[in-house]
């Protein structure tokens, strides 16, 4: 499973503007697999992404919605895109603000499929 996920993460980082892609343990916020550019700090991204997604997953049902399937956070200097892969894992991409979000989303969901289809 890790090999397939690693290949999919590598593909995700080939999208122009993507600086890194991570497979993260949802409960722990720890990195399971990564493909990131030099200078991108994987550990804080993994921890903060897992925390954010976990809180969203708790909050959304209270708003009458279901747990998030895809999350996009846009900041001044970049973007975090994430999607849960089953109950235990999370796929996270860090990208430049100008990235083609649609393309990243497609590749990100491919990683999810590679992980869930384990």
């Amino acid at each position: 499973m890790i090999d397939a996920a690693q290949d999919a993460l590598d593909r995700l980082t080939r999208v122009r503007g993507v600086r890194g892609a991570l497979l993260v343990s949802t409960e722990d916020g720890l990195v399971v697999a990564e493909a990131i550019m030099e200078g991108v700090a994987a550990k804080p991204i993994a921890a903060l992404a897992a925390s954010t997604l976990t809180r969203l997953a708790r909050a959304m049902p209270r708003a009458g919605l279901r747990a998030p399937q895809f999350v996009q956070l846009r900041a001044e200097r970049g973007m975090m895109l994430a999607a849960p892969a089953g109950d235990d894992l999370l796929v996270v991409a860090i990208a430049d603000p100008t990235v083609n979000v649609g393309l990243v989303r497609l590749e990100l969901l491919d990683v999810v499929a590679a992980v869930v289809g384990r």
């Binding site: 993260v24 409960e27 916020g29 550990k43 993994a46 921890a47 903060l48 897992a50 925390s51």
Partner: protein, 155 residues
């Protein structure tokens, strides 16, 4: 939260606020407590410090025996509470951070903020004040002073 040295209050306060941990203990490698958050009883903090220092010492001895040369962090995951021990280098020698946290945070977040705390403590640490030679009487007095700083009263 209480600290033996006032400069520790800033970094420790930020860590407690951001990481949402329940208990934090900073100590020397010998188990001498320098700051704590979350403990209410002196006996608990002294016991936790002694046990934490002992765990780090014994695990590092085992790591050396296995040729691993040491470890970065030691984590124990419980059902409702978990524990992380992080030994780190400072200008005054090795210190140890002991953190207890619940399900309101994650080990990933705790490790990230704990590594930042260790870096801030090492960077902000002032030189150790010169001390007179330690005698039995001074040892008792220093121990009482430390306890008073940590808990507001001596035994």
């Amino acid at each position: 939260m209480s600290t033996v040295e006032p400069w520790l209050a800033g970094p420790l306060g930020r860590f407690v606020d951001e990481s949402a941990t329940r208990i934090t203990l900073l100590m020397t490698a010998a188990g001498q407590v320098v700051a704590q958050h979350g403990f209410t009883r002196r006996v608990d903090v002294m016991a936790a410090a002694a046990l934490g220092a002992g765990i780090v010492a014994s695990t590092e001895a085992m790591a050396r025996m296995l040729g691993a040369g040491g470890f970065a962090t030691l984590a124990h995951q419980g059902r409702t509470q978990s524990l992380v021990l992080l030994p780190f280098a400072t200008p005054r020698g090795r210190w140890i951070a002991l953190v207890v946290f619940g399900r309101e945070t994650t080990i990933g977040l705790v490790q990230v903020f704990l590594e930042r705390l260790a870096a801030e403590v090492a960077a902000d640490m002032p030189p150790e004040p010169a001390r007179a030679p330690l005698t039995a009487e001074r040892f008792e007095q220093e121990l009482q002073d430390s306890l008073r700083n940590l808990f507001g009263r001596a035994s």
